[in-house]
């Protein structure tokens, strides 16, 4: 007799699916990480002001297409490796562990700086809002208040629950659509122009700079693969949701960037953006909308930046946790709070770094929007671009060795074209990086940042080689991430007691 089909329904799958995430939840997670309102009101205006190019809308569309292309191979590879948490695990699977550790060393400062940069945006916007109420609060006071909240929530491992995020996101998107509609229906010279979507400027050197800034706005979408074990159908849910997240964010940003330039007129957008900075959109829609809709916009902008801060904080601590658990960082980073599961040391490290950087900026008295937000997120964005570029090479190398029944398109064509395009963007970015930071021709910042990334990558390579020589068994587990079993037994020497890594009450209450 042939093997009987199970007569009972598939209880296991049903029970597991009940608690798992469908496409919408994963989309929300991805888009919330990319924080569209933060990008539209914070980044796009800054890009207009700094670059002065009218090609921003098309740049966002092209970037969305490029990242979508990248996602194809990236998600396909995530089905074949165990630890899908971070770029460096893809890179160590595809290109070897030495390069993987180098990538991890690039990722740590990159994501960390992006988060710290967002504090500058938050501080500047919050102090502007308080200023409207007649309260003169310096930006760093607001930034430190946000820092405190993020540090505490990070330690408690409270991420805004899916429902809260979803509601905020829906509100954000609605307000963006309302603003876009108002801006487009009130064009500058009475007629709507579409020249901003002309691809012609993309053939000029400005393309690299535009695209790295655009890519910085998408950072966070790649976190969706973290959820692959929590998804209803790991094969399809994540892929579909990641594509939707990328395209949704891309279209939203492109349309908003276009709407802004329609309202001011393409020739005026740079000047207006320079004048109003992050208030630009609110200034543009203010005359045509009831006041409360503008106030709501400010409020949602703040919550959006805060949600992004929290998401990046979690991402950074998760990265350090994964590295600690793998033995790349000291094992103490791989420990979590027993009850909440919070990666304690990773969280603390990021908070301490953030407060140090913010204090320095506050003492020096730099402008929060240019030197904290724009600089740090751009520098972080370059790091993420390097990671994506290496990851796309890793995907290609991974499938070159074995196609693993993925289609020709997913295994070769998409990863190869993504790799080529990302190479172009990366080279153009490195060449024009000084312009990106708006420094003079002889400033060391022209070449310093890319060189520093190369330096940390080299430190990573050396560290990997040291690990290979000194601790081969730990080295062998690199890239397996939290999934990897490094050692069941925690070492007795490192002490996290002061950080209450032990459950509360572990010492008391027992009649020993």
């Amino acid at each position: 007799m042939a093997r009987m089909e199970p007569e009972e329904p598939d209880i296991v799958s049903k029970a597991l699916a009940k608690n798992r995430l469908g496409v919408p939840s994963v989309v929300f997670f991805g888009v919330a990480g990319a924080a569209p309102l933060t990008v539209i009101i914070g980044s796009i205006t800054t890009i207009y002001a700094i670059i002065g190019s009218t090609a921003v809308p098309i740049a966002y569309l092209v970037t969305a297409g490029l990242l979508s292309l990248f996602t194809v191979g990236f998600v396909a590879m995530s089905r074949h490796i165990v630890n899908t948490g971070a770029f460096y695990s893809y890179i160590s699977h595809g290109l070897g562990r030495v390069i993987g550790v180098g990538a991890a060393f690039v990722a740590l400062p990159a994501y960390s700086l992006m988060q710290i940069g967002l504090f500058g945006l938050f501080g500047s916007v919050a102090s502007g809002i308080l200023g409207a109420f007649g309260l003169s609060v310096p930006w760093y006071a607001c930034a430190i208040a946000a820092w405190f909240a993020v540090a505490v929530l990070g330690l408690l491992w409270v991420d805004l629950s899916g429902k809260v995020l979803a509601v905020l996101l829906v509100l954000e998107i609605s307000i963006v659509l309302i603003y876009d509609f108002v801006m487009v229906t009130n064009p500058a010279d009475g007629h709507v122009t579409f020249s901003q979507f002309s691809p012609a400027p993309l053939a000029t050197p400005v393309v690299g700079i535009l695209m790295v800034l655009a890519i910085a706005g998408f950072v966070g979408f790649e976190a969706t693969v973290v959820l692959s074990e929590e998804a209803k159908d790991p094969k399809r849910t994540i892929a579909r949701a990641t594509h939707i997240a990328v395209i949704l964010a891309g279209v939203l940003c492109a349309v908003s960037a276009w709407a802004m330039s329609v309202n001011t007129g393409p020739d005026q957008i740079a000047a207006q953006a320079g004048k109003h900075q992050t208030d630009l959109v609110f200034q543009l829609v203010g005359p045509h909308l009831p006041g409360f809709l503008v106030d709501v916009g400010y409020l949602l902008f703040l919550t959006s930046v805060f949600a992004a801060l929290l998401a990046f904080h979690a991402a950074v601590s998760r990265y350090q946790f994964a590295l600690g658990r793998e033995g790349v960082l000291p094992a103490a980073w791989g420990r979590t709070h027993p009850r909440t599961g919070a990666p304690l040391l990773g969280s603390i490290t990021q908070s301490v770094l953030a407060i140090i950087v913010l204090s320095i900026y506050a003492l020096v008295g730099s402008d929060p929007l240019v030197f904290v937000f724009a600089w740090l997120t751009t520098i972080g964005g370059l790091g993420v671009l390097i990671l994506m570029w290496a990851a796309s090479a890793a995907v290609l190398a991974f499938f070159m060795r074995n196609r693993r029944r993925e289609s020709f398109w997913k295994a070769y064509v998409a990863p190869a074209s993504a790799f080529l395009l990302l190479t172009v963007v990366l080279v153009a970015t490195c060449i024009g990086f000084g312009e990106l930071l708006q420094v003079n021709g002889d400033s060391p910042f022209q070449w310093l940042i890319p060189a520093l990334y190369v330096a940390v990558a080299v430190v990573g390579f050396v560290w990997a080689l040291i690990m290979r020589a000194a601790r081969p068994e730990v080295y062998a587990a690199i890239g397996r991430g939290t999934d990897g079993r490094v050692n069941v037994v925690p070492d007795s020497t490192s002490m996290l007691r002061a950080l209450h890594a032990d459950p509360v009450g572990a010492r008391s209450g027992y009649p020993y």
Binding site: D10, I11, V12, V82, V226, T336, V488, S492, D502, P503
Partner: protein, 243 residues
């Protein structure tokens, strides 16, 4: 008086080990593994989980699978569960789980079963312990719902519960005479992150930390795999940070 009662309850909790010993096929004693893990993983005064609830669930799920392995009913090979013996175990919960494993042959992956069993494990093992008289169900009102916790309620039950981690610490300090079941328990305690609760005193337990690796490392292959998959699952659940 209290001491006498403690001994009686501790004896009840441990009774099944003697009956399990008489089965010639078994690799060790089953039955008590998940009970012991439950008592270690929950606060005896509040009944709350000492770990992230999902981590506790995974530890309990692994303990339940471990019981079936110890009784020789199932095995693990390269990440898959294999049914070795369909004869129902004497314990009702183990019987129930074995039935499920038999009825759902399309799922063999250990990590799927860990995820599945972890959802209900705390309640199921709590019920089993309350049948033994080691804990009592306590229903509490919460904001909008009620929750039932299984916790030791009398002083005697509480002493018995507190004995669970202390017994394990003593075994580890001596470093000898650990049964397979105890070593699986040690492995699961370490894999889910309860080591520091059991070995709370660095000075007194210095030796115990040293005997941990050998205690887990000397387990039979399938039980060692079970511990490894548990640690991997706990790692990924904790990384995501969802409830």
């Amino acid at each position: 008086m209290i001491i006498a009662a403690t001994v009686i309850i501790a004896a009840t909790v441990l009774t099944r080990e003697s009956t399990a010993h008489q089965q010639p096929l078994s690799k060790g004693r089953g039955g008590v593994l998940a009970d012991q893990y439950f008592l270690i993983a929950h606060e005896d005064r509040t009944g709350r989980s000492r770990l992230h609830p999902r981590a506790t669930g995974l530890g309990l799920a692994a303990a339940l699978l471990g019981e079936l392995i110890l009784e020789g009913r199932i095995g693990i090979s390269e990440g898959d569960l294999i049914i070795l013996d369909r004869h129902p175990p004497s314990d009702a919960l183990a019987h129930d789980i074995l039935d499920l494993l038999v009825a759902q042959p399309q799922h063999r992956d250990v990590r799927i079963w860990l995820a599945f069993l972890s959802q209900e494990a705390a309640v199921r093992v709590g019920e089993r312990l309350s049948r033994l008289g080691a804990v009592e169900p306590v229903t509490r009102r919460r904001m909008l719902s009620t929750e039932t916790l299984y916790m030791p309620n009398s002083p005697a039950q509480r002493n018995a519960a507190a004995w669970a981690p202390a017994r394990l610490a003593n075994l580890l300090v001596r470093g000898i005479g650990m049964s397979i079941s105890d070593r699986v328990l040690i492995g699961l305690v370490a894999a889910t992150g309860l080591t520091r609760h059991v070995l709370y005193d660095f000075e007194a337990h210095r030796h115990a930390f040293q005997s941990l690796p050998s205690a887990v490392g000397s387990l039979p292959a399938d039980l060692r795999e079970l511990v490894e998959y548990t640690e991997a699952s706990v790692g990924s659940v904790v990384t995501v940070g969802r409830r």
